[in-house]
Structures are given as C-alpha cells and as structure tokens.
C-alpha cells in the first residue's frame, strides 16, 4: 500500500529548545499508525509539525507525495487532513452544533449529510446539539472533537491522546467509535493508553527524546515484553 504521510529527518524547535531531533516515519494508507512514548518524547510536537502549527527547521513532511512543511495550517487542513488535538480544543462558549459547523469547510448538502452521519455515530452529540460545548462531560467533549474532524472529507486523521483523563467505560465507547472511523480515513494516533493503542493500531512508532527509536507492526510490539519495558516502562 502507498504511504499517505512521510516524515523525513524532521527537526523542530520551540523557542530555544530543540524538540524533534530527526523524526522519520511513514504512514500506510488505510492503516492506524500509533505514536507511543513517554511524556516529553515529542509525540504532540510531531503532530503539530505535521499540521503546520510548528514549522520544522530541517527535514520534510510529505502528504500523498507532496511536500507540506512549508504550507500554512489552514492550507494543510484543506488538503484533507483532520486534527483532533490533545485537550480536544473545543470552543466552550459555542453550542455543539456550532462547533460542528465551524469545522465544516463549506456548508453544503454534502457536508450536512456528513454532519448527519457524525450525529448518528455519536448519539450524545445529537442529544446535546444545542447545549454549550463547555457543559459536556470529558467523554462527550472528546466525541465532539473527533466528530468535528469528520464533517469534512478527510483522508488522514491525526488524533492526539483521545483517552487522556477519561473513565475506562468512556474509553471503551471511544475505542468502538474509533474502530468505526478506521473505515473512513487513515489514522495517526498518539496514545499513552497501551491497551487502547494495541487494540486499534496496525503499525507503531516509539518515540524517545525527540527521535523515533522503534518502528514496526503493533502486534509485534505488544508481544515483545523487553521492548515495552525498555521504551514504555510497562
């Protein structure tokens, strides 16, 4: 299968700090690629660099063969890349419906049909459609954040730590929703919850100190206790 996303020796600085120190990874089409690693390993910085929020100082990011590391975040999003950031990034003062409408690149019959599908996928969003997003529970906010990324025809979806701070029962529901979503787009998932990552992931990269230190099938990592202990401390 062709690579949808390719990072080649990417270096990113935040202020005086050299965070990404040569990250290279490839994301296969229609697969879920998981980024694992301890806090501060550079996973979120990698996602923000892909989205153009942070500009790499060296290296390249290619989406479907096209270099995107010089583009602005909105131009990157318009290529068909959806982003669900860590902490959800929902607009707390807007209603659930308004949050979904802001995410639409254009309000057309097609996008309204996609909105209908999102509301069918996450019934709680339909129930609280007119409620302010700030009043939702943590799990509902996460559903909203993911739903927003799906109201456009995305070909690649970047999801950063969706299970963070959620109760186990909510995480189960989230896994079901992400399983359903796998059929719609290629997914890059940053996840600290190894059980969730291993259930959803096809491929995985382990990051440490701003570098990718391991790459391979998710199943192989799940079966390798020594590797898990070495890089993930589990």
């Amino acid at each position: 299968m062709a690579d949808v996303l390719e990072l080649e020796a990417v270096h990113t600085d935040i202020g005086q700090h050299h965070i990404l120190q040569g990250v290279s990874l490839r994301v296969r089409a229609d697969a879920v690629t998981v980024l694992l690693g301890r806090n501060g390993a550079g996973k979120t910085t990698t996602m923000r660099t892909i989205m153009g929020v942070l500009r790499p100082s060296r290296g390249s990011v290619r989406f479907e063969g096209r270099p995107i590391h010089t583009l602005t975040p909105h131009a990157i999003a318009r290529l068909g890349i959806g982003y669900v950031p860590e902490g959800q990034g929902i607009f707390a003062t807007l209603t659930v419906e308004e949050n979904l409408r802001v995410a639409m690149l254009a309000e057309s019959a097609e996008s309204r049909e996609r909105l209908r599908r999102v509301l069918a996928l996450f019934p709680d969003l339909e129930r609280f459609r007119q409620a302010r997003a700030g009043t939702l529970s943590g799990g509902q906010k996460q559903m909203l954040a993911i739903g927003r990324a799906l109201v456009n025809p995305v070909r690649l979806l970047l999801i950063d730590e969706p299970s963070k701070g959620l109760a186990p029962i909510v995480v189960e529901h989230l896994i079901d929703a992400l399983q359903a979503m796998k059929r719609q787009a290629t997914v890059v998932l940053v996840e600290q919850n190894f059980a969730m990552a291993s259930r959803l992931g096809d491929d995985c990269y382990v990051m440490d100190d701003g570098r990718t230190v391991h790459a391979g099938p998710m199943a192989a990592l799940a079966a390798d206790s020594a590797l898990k202990r070495k890089y993930l401390g589990i």
Binding site: M51, G52, V53, T72, P73, H74, I76, A77, R78, Y83, P85, G89, F91, A92, T93, L94, E98, N99, R101, V102, A103, L105, E107, R148, N152
Partner: protein, 325 residues
C-alpha cells in the same frame, strides 16, 4: 436569562441610585448624556475588543483611527456644507444627507487605514505584545502628525446638521437631540454586530477564533483573512466613533483619539476581551457613572471608572463577559 437577572438589577440600581443625591430633571439629562457617551465609547471599544480578543493584538493606534475618522468626516461635511449649505439647511433630508456622507467618508478612510496598518505593521508582530505596543504607539504618532500636516494643529469646528442641534422638551425636561441620535446609532451598530456575529458563518468563525484561533486555523480557515477583516471593521467603527464624538463635542483636534482610547481600554477590560455585549455594558457603565460622578464630585469622575475596572477585575478577572483563554 440567569445571567441577565443580576445585570438588570445592577443596571436599575446604577440608574436609580444617583436619584438620592441628584434632582430628577438633572438626573434625566445626565442619564441621556451618560448613555450617549457610553454609546460613543462603545463604537470605539467594540472594534478594540474584537481585535484584542480575536487577534491578541494590543492596538494603541485605534485612537488615531478615531481621529482620522473624525477628520475624514469633517472634511466631507465641510465640502458638502460649503457647496450646498446642507448643515444649516432646515431640510431634514439635506441634514441626513450630509451626516450619511460624513459617516461614509469616516468608514472608508478608517477601513482603508485599518487594512494598511494590519498588513504593514501589525502582521509582523503577532504574538509579541511589547512590539505591538511600541509599533502601534509609533503608528499613532505618525498618524497624528499627518493630521497636523494636513489640517493644522489647532481645533476645528465640526459642522453639525441643524436637525441634530438643539433639544426636545419632554414633560418639561430638556432632552438634547444629538445624544439621543448617538444612542440610536450605537444601538443600531450593536444590533448589526450581534446579527453579524450570531447569525452569519463569518461571525461564527470569528467567535470561534476569539476563543481559540489556532484551532480555527487547523480546521482549514485562513485566520489571517479574518484578522484583516476584523481589524478593518474595528477601525471603521473607531472612525465612526470619532466622527460622532466630533459632532457631540462640536470640535475636533489631532490628539482626540488618544484621549478616548483610555476609556475604550477600560471598557474592554470591564466587558471582557472579545465580547461585544461586554463592551456595550462596560461602555454604558463608564458613560453613566462618569456623568453622575462628574456632576456630584467633578474631580472624582475618571477615578470612578478606574474604580469600576479594579472592582470587576477583583471579582471576575476575565471581565463581565470575558472568555478565559
């Protein structure tokens, strides 16, 4: 509704409390003047709050745009009045024509200057507050000096249409006409902004951007286009505010914008960054309290507005309607 109840009670208290010390006729005159002053400050503060809230830009040049709007309107009003004598004409249509042409000139000039300022001097300093303060203060000096070069350093007498002058006699109380017109215009602008922000897609994206502009960008919206648009509209509102202030006080001078900017910043802080309704409430609070206190203890007038700001910050650090970022 829950949010509005304390506001209505507070507003009623604020309006009626001065009656303890002020005779009713004077109170009514002061109230009309306070509401008018509040609406004029609102015109300046509403643009400032959106620029502040959406773009995180401290725009000290906003006051200079207020002055430029006043001078642009003044120039057109003088031309029209010189050619056709529309200001002194008893015809309401001629008076309204002069006023609308002056407003159009203020809007066009301030809007154009707003676009130029945003593109040339503000865009390179996004996210750098210290540089924003320095460069917009620099722009203020340049813009004010340009006014002195073009129109001279002295005060100019603003032509005010005849219909806007004088007063109405309402139940033996003198109600000045211009403040009532200013209140009407302010209410119209507020209504227009609420419609734009709450009923249009552009407004929806701007409201989202006020809360989290990075998220709006990664959703595929070119936030810089919205920044420029909001900056230009905010500048145009400052320009209209300048023209109205000029007609209210019947004179204009190059430094008039800077003098009003302090009120606008106080109002934005009281109302909460990015909130148009907050700006309106803050502006009316400042306008009314300033007029009541100026009547009772003239020297304490400015101090009271500062006191309100400090009180609001102590109780609600994000302002009355602010969104914590």
């Amino acid at each position: 509704m829950k949010r509005a109840a304390p506001l209505v009670i507070g507003a009623a208290l604020l309006l009626l409390l001065p009656l303890v010390a002020i005779e009713p006729r004077a109170w009514l005159t002061l109230t009309v003047a306070g509401l008018a002053m509040g609406m004029l400050i609102f015109l300046v503060a509403s643009g400032l709050t959106l620029i502040f809230g959406l773009m995180d830009v401290l725009n000290f040049a906003h006051g200079a745009l207020f002055s430029w709007g006043a001078y642009a309107g003044f120039t057109v009003a003088m031309l029209v009045n010189g050619h056709w004598g529309w200001a002194a004409s008893p015809s309401v249509v001629a008076n309204a024509g002069l006023f609308l042409l002056a407003v159009a000139a203020a809007v066009v000039v301030a809007f154009g200057l707003g676009i130029a300022l945003e593109r040339v001097i503000v865009r390179p300093v996004y996210g750098q507050h210290l540089f924003q303060i320095l460069i917009t203060l620099g722009a203020t000096i340049v813009l004010e000096e340009l006014i002195r070069i073009a129109w001279g350093p002295n005060d100019q007498v603003m032509p005010v249409p005849l219909t806007f002058q004088g007063s109405w006699d309402v139940a033996d109380v003198v109600v000045l006409r211009f403040p009532v017109i200013a209140i009407g215009l302010g209410a119209l602008v507020y209504g227009g902004m609420l419609w734009l922000l709450n009923r249009t897609r552009v407004g929806l994206i701007v409201r989202a951007g006020v809360e989290n502009n990075e998220m709006v960008q990664v959703m595929g919206h070119d936030i810089h286009r919205y920044f420029t648009g909001v900056f230009a509209v905010g500048s145009a509102l400052a320009g209209v505010g300048g023209l109205m202030w000029g007609m209210f006080s019947q004179s204009i001078r190059p430094s008039m914008g800077g003098e009003q900017l302090i009120f606008a910043f106080i109002v934005v802080i009281i109302g909460g960054l990015g909130s148009v309704t907050g700006s309106l409430v803050g502006a009316l609070l400042v306008g009314l309290s300033y007029n009541y206190v100026a009547y009772l203890v003239p020297k304490a007038a400015i101090g009271v507005t500062m006191g309100i700001m400090v009180l609001v910050l102590l109780v609600r650090p994000t302002g009355l309607y602010g969104v914590g970022k």
